[in-house]
Structure formats: structure tokens, C-alpha cells
């Protein structure tokens, strides 16, 4: 056998050895009761047909390869955006391990988060003791400035009352009475990670502005000239929030970044471990109530939060759908300009001109190409707008966590654009649906997260990685996709893939390399 103690082969090579190939083939033949190869191929081909697609789309119960994550994940994403804050997840610790690994794999950073470690007895008798002990331990071990409590399904199913539990824990001395412990119920069986983000954010606003669960007076709003900015659940949060700060600084806008997790997910390697870094401070959160307006970059990540701010506090709220295109970025800047009265500075005018220049230089390569997009609702809209601005057709737009309202909004966007004519929006669908779409109505490129690589393998549609999570490519989250600079990055990523595809199609010596050019 090729595998022996003197020379151990790893997975890349081991199963490619002839002995293994033979063994696997024999195993299949003699012990796996395989169907005939022709039959296998027939079924494989059948899964590519419109007939199969119809059956696939008739699925009622099963979700296959979902393009969404759970509420608690979004909850943690929001919670780490506050200064010195430990996200405390009331529920089973296994869930929490997922969030941490998920974020670590995407951001290539440690991701601190604790759980109340509920076990079977807690599920029977309630998780109060876990909350009481957990808060005390967290407070003493990590000395956080704030503990943000969210939940997992386990706590939600048995109906644990966070408000009551936290009050009890405080009365039992787990943390000081005046210590900030905002909370939000975030069951995974409702909504998705963007809902969890929304819930935690709303919980934090309610906590600080609305009298800390009835323990202090509500704040008195005295409007001033600052604005609040919320990024939403954003895979590019590190690059994006820094870019937004740069833009606001250039404009001379006074602002508060809400849930600013750009530093905690990009800590330097200089010999100091930072469990916490950056983030929105408690003072900033308190002062944010006086802001002139709150801006959300992602409408569907902040529906409840903005509604709370607007209806309870009569503060203006403005939301966008993950602006990437020139026009969407124009609109964003003009709104900021309108609200703050600050003109768009020369530097940004130059950057706009440069982006338009870059688009004009290269958009011919995107023009007329068909794209399938999946991801979070706002990202899908931002990308579709950007593609149509370049003459690309967002043929399939799919969001597992997009609802009716989102569907209507996307449809209206497609209807209003000549490049949207043959495009369709698919709310509440998954990546197995996308598979059928890619087979029956093929496109030139697929835009989505890392999981899209299986679709790329199955359907041969080249994948452009934009979304969450991106596990198999590094550091893209450090680059902005917002602002004109961000638009430039998205353009480059799309173009890179297009050119790689041209090269891939022309790279075989004496077969296709007649067109293998150095200039593209």
C-alpha cells in the first residue's frame, strides 16, 4: 500500500494512488450495491432538467443548503461592537462555539463570546441558575464594561425570561445593580442572523435610552447636530466602517458609529492580546439619543431598531440597501449631506470621478453578462444595482432570509431597469434551488459566499466570493465595499474572476492557448 509509516501521505495525495483507486472501486462494486454507471449518470442529468427544477421548487418542508445563519450569530455580531462588551449567550455552549468559530474563520481573528452553558437539568428546571452563575463568572473573569445577553433556542423553548433572570442575578450579586446588562431574545427558529442583529441592537438602544429595564429614568432627548450610523450585519465591517469614518471625517460630520466592531475583528499582532478593542462606548450610546438622525446602511438588518428610534424618540431614520453602485453611493452621500448640511468634499468628488472612470474602462467586460446572486437581502440589492449599472444582468437574485417586502422591492428595482428585464427574485429559497436555477437557466457568474463553491463545482458556474461567510479566501473583509472606494473593490473582484475565467479557457498549450494573452 502507498500509505506506510516511513512516508505518510496526506489527503491531497493518498486517495489518488492507484492502490486506493482500485480499492475504492472494488469496494463500491462488491459491497456498496451500486446502481449502474449509466443509471447514475441518468439521474445526475435528470437533476439538471426543468422537470427536476419543478419538483425542487415544490419542496415545502425541507431546506437544503441554506443561505442564512441563525439569530444568535447576528446577536453576537452586534454585541461585540460595543466597547469592552462580552456577548453572553444564554443557552447551550455548543451553539456559542459555532458563532466563535464562524467569525474566527471569516475574520481570521479570535472571537470572544461566553455562554451560560445550559445542560439537561437547566432545560428541565429553567436556566436561572446558569444565568446567575454565568453573569457572575463572566463579570469576574473578564472584567467587561458591559455584558450583552442574547439567547439560543434552548432557552427560548423553555421560555426563560431574560429581564426577570437578569434582575434576579443582580439582586443575588452576580453583577452590581447599576451594571449594564442589555438583553434580547434571539431564537434561531425565528428569522435569521440579520434578525438577531436587529434584536440585540434594539435591546441595547432600549436599555440605554429607555431607562435600563425600568431601573432608571428614561433619557431626555435634546436634538443636536450629530448623526448615528449603523452598518448592519456586514461581512466587510472591518473595511467598511473605517471607510465610512473616513468619509464622515472628510465631510466634517459629527457622528457616532453604533456597534462598531471594526477594531475587535482586526486586532494587531504586537504582543498584546486584545479580548476587546474599539467599539461604541456607553457614553456614546447615551449621547446617541440626541442625534439628529440615525442612518442604517442595511434596511433589512435594522427594521425593528429604526422603528424603535423613530416611533419612540421621534428621531429621523434613514436606511439604505447596502449601497455599492455609483448611484446608490451618490444617494447615500446626498442624504448625509442633506441631514448634516455639510457639502460633499472635493476628495470624495475625485473618488467618484475615479470610480466612474474605472467603470468606464472596464465595464464592457461586465456588460451583457448574466449573474446569479445570493446572500443577505440588502447585499443582494446593492450588488444587483451595481451590476446593472455596469450593464450586467442579475438573472437570479436569491435570499433565504428575504421576505415578501424584500421580494417586492427587488422586483420594483428590476422592473425599473432595462437590464432587469429577464431577471427574477427568489425569496425564502435555498442553494439547492439555486442549483436548479443554474442548470436550467445558466448564467455566466455566480456571486455568493464560500458555500457557493459547491455550486461552482456542480454547475461549472464561476464563483465570485462576496458575502458571509467567506472561509476559503482570506482578508477580503479588510477592504471596504461601501463608498466609491468600495465600489472600486467590488469592481476589481468581479473583473478578476472574469479575466481568470478567460485565462482558464485559454490556458491549455497547443489546444486553447492561441488566445492566452498577457493583455486583457
Amino acid at each position: 500500500m502507498p500509505q506506510n509509516a516511513d512516508h505518510v501521505l496526506d489527503h491531497f495525495d493518498l486517495f489518488r494512488q492507484p492502490e486506493y483507486r482500485e480499492m475504492l472501486a472494488n469496494k463500491k462494486k462488491n459491497f456498496e450495491n451500486p446502481v449502474a454507471e449509466a443509471e447514475l449518470q441518468r439521474v445526475v442529468e435528470w437533476t439538471k432538467t426543468p422537470e427536476y427544477r419543478e419538483k425542487n421548487f415544490a419542496r415545502e418542508a425541507l431546506t437544503v443548503n441554506p443561505a442564512k445563519a441563525c439569530q444568535p450569530l447576528g446577536a453576537v455580531f452586534a454585541a461585540v461592537g460595543f466597547e469592552g462588551t462580552v456577548p453572553f449567550v444564554h443557552g447551550s455552549q455548543g451553539c456559542v462555539a459555532y458563532y466563535r468559530s464562524h467569525f474566527s474563520r471569516h475574520f481570521k481573528e479570535p472571537s470572544s463570546c461566553v455562554s451560560s452553558s445550559m445542560t439537561e437539568d437547566a432545560a428541565v428546571f429553567g436556566g436561572l441558575n446558569n444565568m446567575v452563575d454565568g453573569l457572575a463568572n463572566t463579570y469576574n473573569l473578564y472584567k467587561p464594561k458591559m455584558i450583552s445577553v442574547s439567547t439560543t433556542c434552548m432557552a427560548e423553548v423553555i421560555g426563560d425570561d431574560l429581564n426577570a433572570f437578569i434582575k434576579t442575578a443582580k439582586s443575588k450579586g452576580s453583577v452590581p445593580e447599576a451594571y449594564d446588562v442589555p438583553f434580547a431574545h434571539t431564537p434561531a427558529f425565528v428569522g435569521s442572523h440579520i434578525t438577531g442583529y436587529d434584536n440585540v441592537l434594539k435591546g441595547v438602544f432600549e436599555h440605554f435610552w429607555g431607562g435600563k429595564a425600568g431601573t432608571v429614568e428614561k433619557l431626555q432627548r435634546v436634538p443636536n447636530e450629530t448623526i448615528n450610523f449603523i452598518g448592519g450585519f456586514d461581512p466587510y465591517t472591518v473595511g467598511n466602517l473605517r471607510e465610512i469614518k473616513r468619509i464622515f471625517d472628510l465631510m466634517g460630520v459629527e457622528y457616532t458609529m453604533i456597534a462598531d466592531n471594526s477594531d475587535v475583528w482586526d486586532t494587531p499582532t504586537d504582543g498584546t492580546f486584545r479580548m476587546f478593542d474599539g467599539g461604541t462606548t456607553i457614553d456614546e450610546m447615551n449621547a446617541a439619543v440626541h442625534a439628529k438622525a440615525t442612518i442604517s446602511m442595511q434596511e433589512y438588518c435594522t427594521e425593528k431598531t429604526l422603528n424603535y428610534i423613530k416611533s419612540e424618540w421621534d428621531q429621523e431614520t434613514v436606511s439604505f440597501n447596502h449601497p455599492i453602485s455609483v448611484q446608490a453611493t451618490d444617494k447615500f452621500l446626498m442624504e448625509i449631506s442633506r441631514i448634516t448640511g455639510k457639502p460633499v468634499p472635493d476628495q470624495l468628488k475625485l473618488e467618484r470621478g475615479r470610480l466612474v472612470d474605472a467603470l468606464a474602462d472596464s465595464s464592457a467586460h461586465i456588460h451583457g453578462k448574466k449573474f446569479a446572486i445570493y446572500g443577505d437581502p440588502d447585499l443582494c440589492i446593492g450588488l444587483a444595482e451595481f451590476l446593472m449599472e455596469c450593464g450586467g444582468e442579475p438573472t437570479h437574485i436569491l435570499a433565504t432570509n428575504g421576505g415578501k417586502a424584500w421580494e417586492a422591492k427587488v422586483q420594483a428595482m428590476l422592473d425599473a431597469n432595462q437590464f432587469g428585464a429577464n431577471c427574477h427574485v427568489y425569496p425564502l429559497r435555498d442553494l439547492w434551488h439555486m442549483r436548479s436555477l443554474l442548470f436550467t437557466e445558466p448564467v455566466d457568474f455566480l456571486i455568493g459566499n464560500t458555500y457557493g463553491k459547491y455550486l461552482e463545482r456542480d454547475t461549472g458556474t464561476p464563483l465570485i466570493r462576496i458575502g458571509f461567510p467567506i472561509f476559503d479566501r482570506h482578508h477580503h473583509h479588510r477592504y471596504p465595499v461601501w463608498g466609491y472606494q468600495g465600489g472600486l473593490n467590488v469592481l476589481v473582484w468581479i473583473l478578476d474572476r472574469i479575466f481568470e475565467e478567460i485565462d482558464r479557457n485559454t490556458i491549455v498549450p497547443a489546444h486553447s492557448d492561441f488566445s492566452y494573452d498577457i493583455i486583457r
Binding site: K331, V344, D361, I518, R520
Partner: protein
Amino acid sequence: MSSVSATVQDVFNEPACPKNAAKSEKERKKGCTKQLQPGGAAGGCAFDGAKIALQPITDVAHLVHGPIACEGNSWDNRGAYSSGSTLYRTGFTTDINETDVVFGGEKRLYKSIKEIIEKYNPPSVFVYQTCVPAMIGDDIDAVCKAATKKFGKPIVPVNSPGFVGPKNLGNKLAGEALLAHVIGTEEPDFTTPYDVNIIGEYNLAGEMWQVEPLLKEIGFRILSCISGDAKYHEVARAHRARATMMVCSKAMINITRKLEDLYGIPYFEGSFYGIGDMSDSIRQLAQLVIDRGAPPEFMDRAEAVIAREEKRAWERMAEYTPRLKGKKVLLITGGVKSWSVVAALQEVGLEIVGTSVKKSTKEDKERIKELMGDDAHAFDDMSPREMYKMLKDARADIMLSGGRSQFIALKASMPWLDINQERHHAYAGYEGMVDLVKEIDKALYNPIWEQVRMPAPWQNASDTWQAKADAAAAKEAAELAADPAKAEEKRRSKKICKCKTVDLGTIEDAIRANALTTVAQVTEITHAGGGCTSCRGTIDGILADLGVGEIETDPVKLEEKRRATKICNCKSIDRGAIEDAIRANGLTTVAEVTAATQAGGGCTSCCDSIDDILAELVAPAEAAPVAIAAE
């Protein structure tokens, strides 16, 4: 006189070039391209010209003798495609260093050739001379000669160091190298009456491959294509072809003409761009081989393919024509493309609102004039501001140009499509025309142009640079209108001869002071027109405007002059000859005129003019002389 300068002089003395033939001995020695202006932005050098002309020969090792600069910047930089060997894409250079500069680089060159032969064994090595070894006196001819002897393979020196002149000269020097060392050195295994050369075709973006199958189907054998997708042995056998088609009018005229002089191979200049041009080129090529002994039925084969392909192309383009009809195009290119593309675009209903003639020959310009009817829309150079004005005034919808003008166009908010060498779509032949139309359609309807032209949302409409430019232009116009003296000064300050920096006022003064009547006299006195000679037509116009030279009151001379107007530039046939032929033989169709006079038998772009002449003679009541005088 060294051999390089002798060759350069020989190249300058190109009898097949009408412009050159019109020059005095002294002028001819100065060369045929615009003098380079120190401090001005310049195009490529002679080395580059030679390299790009020969690099498409695919199985040859192209060895650049010089420091890294020359090959480093030119390595594999053109999309000339190969159907076989990819050796031409490998960058070979001697990469000479300081020691070589001091002690000479010949040994290094010899060793480099040796290593290429040992490691790659190509049929030939082309050695390109560059500035540094030329200046230190490396004799590449001697090295190549020694290497040829030693290795038993043709090692070809291409003596075109950058400093001898511009790119166009390099093209020709490359041609000389082929003539001196390659063409005629081998014999084909067999010949046929249908063997042809295609010269000046580089197979950019694989264009030749869109034309080749049709030529083959008709029955032509392309003995040699210089130099697109060429093999060394094919080039060496070019002298046995029956006819030559010359594709790019300026670059390789010397090879074409010398093939005629030395081997009696007739040629014509044609184009593969545009459906009409493509068909005409096939016909002419067929006619040339028939003239040399191929059976006349051969033309039927050609016509059959033409008819089929034209029909197919038109059918496929029909869906675009409604979308393109009436769209206005500004063409910024050079040379042969300026007219061949004009014809092509007009075929699909596009309107040409302007074209540049920067690199075009006088013939090219004439053809443009014939095609577009009005040379007021032909520009030598265009500044971004002029381009913008063009866009605004003429409301051009798109600009077609080479890659370098692209960026100027974009800054001027002008939609743009690449039609020069760095493009990646093949536009030649019938298939190529469909592709070009498809690409123009795509470019015209690309939403990015809307974005490019739309002011930023914060933009105050009166504050754009376009508005400022308009305001400045309007202000200037108003000032000039208010101050006749200043207007006159401005008018007189217009630069007429760019080579010799002579303005309109100087020329007018000279004409008045010395009672000049001919362009030659003006050149004598002012030097205007003594450089590249491209302004001579303008000077002629100035003479006419001043009421000297052109204005002729004697009806006999007037008639003489009218009859002397050149109608067919290819075959050099004037109006008088055509009219006489029509009257004498009672001709009624263009084809008959062509048969009788040869006029229209070249690029065919004058067929419309011949048609007009026929119309005039059939209906003489029309006030034809007035129209001619205006012309």
C-alpha cells in the same frame, strides 16, 4: 554611409508612394514621416516598429540585442495570434550590461544565438538591433553572418535601432530585412496558379482566421502571410506567389512593391474591414490571379462565396441595424482604418460625424473624402476639448479609437470602443463585421455611458468643466466678434505647417508680398509644407482663398483643371479620362467604366463618384460645373 542609413534612404525613396513621388530630391532624403518634435509626446521608435511587424512570425526566435529596456517593454505585447508555435511569445534578449557597453556586445550576441539554437532549434533567429549596441558599434550583420555559417540556419539581422526614426520607418526596415535575408531564399514544394501573399496583415485577435477559410474555400492558397500567424519557411517562399494583397497601406508597401519589381508579382491594396471592402478584396485578388493565368471561372467561385457570405452577414446584422441606424460615430484611428472602417460602419446605418486622419496617407484622406463627402469632418489631431466640443456639437453617440485615445475619450465623457491593436475581438471579414456591429451595439447601449455623462448629484450644472469650456469658448468668440483686429490676429495665428511651425499669417503675407501662385513657391519662401507635406492641400486652399493660384477665369484652363481631378486614386485615373471613355463607348454602368478605364478597380471607394459622373453625362442639364467648382 553605413548600411542602416543607406537602407533608410532606400526606404524613403519609395516610388510606389505617390506622396513620396511628388517630393523633391532634397525633401525625399528627409524622410516621409512627420519630424519628431523634441519635448512632444511621441509614438513608438523604429525598433518597436520593426519588432511589431515581424513578431507575428510565430516559429522564429525574436532576439533583441540590447539592454533590458527594449525587450522588457515590448515582450509579447500584441495580440497577434498563432495557430502553431508559440516561440514568438518567448522573450529573448541579450540583456547587455555595463561591461558589454565598454567592451562591445557582439560576443554576448553570438553566444545568445548559440544558446537559442541549442535549446530551441528554431528555423531562424531574428536579431533586432537597438540603440545602445548600435551606438557602441556592434555589427549585428557580421555576427548574424558568422552565426548563419556556423549553425547552418538563417540568422536574420533586423537593423532598426530606435534612434533612426519613428515606428513607421521601423515597419519598413523590418520589411527590408525580410527582403534582404528571407524572401526568396527557399522554394515552395509546388506552386499553383492560385498562390497569393497577404502582406500587412498581423492576425491581431485572430482576424486572419476569419478570412482564411473563405479564401481557401474559393481556392486560393495563401503562400505567405506577412506576418500574421506566419512560419519562417512560408515567408521565405513569398516570392513565388501569383499576386499580393497589401492590407495596411503604409507599413509594408516596400515589400509589396519590391515583390513586384523583383519577381513580377502584381499587388493591390485592399481591406478586410467591412462587407463591401471584403467582397471587393476577394474579387480583386481573384482578378489578379486570373490575369496571371488562372481560369476565368475562378471568379465564379469567388462570386458564389461572396454572395453567400454577404447574405449571411446582412441577415445576421439586420437585427442590429434598427438599433444602430442614425447613431453618430466619431472615429479616432489612423492609417487604412480611417477609411475602411468608415465604409464598414456606413453599411449598418451608422453616421460618421468625424474621423481623424492622423496617420493616414493622402490616399487614405482622399478615400475618406469620397466616402464622407466632406473633409471638414476629418481631423489631424484632436484635443480633449475639441473632442468634447465634437461630442456636444455633433452629438456623437460613440467614439471608436485605439486604446490610447480611450482615456482621453472617457475623460471627455465620450462612449468608446477599441478598434485598434489591443482589442480582443476580431473584426475582419464578414464574420468580423457582424462582431463589430455587435460590439458597437453593446458599447452604445452600455449603461455606464449614462453614468459617465451624468453630472454628480452635487454638481451645479454651470460648474462642470464642460460648461466652463463652453463658457470660455463663447467668451472667446464674443471677444473676437467685438474686436476685429484680435479676431484677425487669432485667424492669422492658426498653425498651418506643424513641422516647420508656420502660421497662416506668415503664409498669407508671403503670398501677397511675393505674388506667389503655387504651393511649391510658398514652400520655397516660408518652408511651410517642407516637412511631412501633409499641409500642402491647406496651402493650396490658402492660395485659392487669396484669389491666386486656384481661381481660374479662362474657361479652357478651368475645364482642364476640372478634367484633371483625380477620381480613382488607386489606378490614378482622372475625371477627363473617365468622361472621355463614357462618351466614346456609350458606357452606362460603373462596371463598364472600370472595365474600360480601370477606374474603380482598386479599393472601389470611388465607384460612387463614377456613378455620379455617369449620372451627370446622362443628364447634362444638371448644373454640374457649379458643383465641381465648389468641390
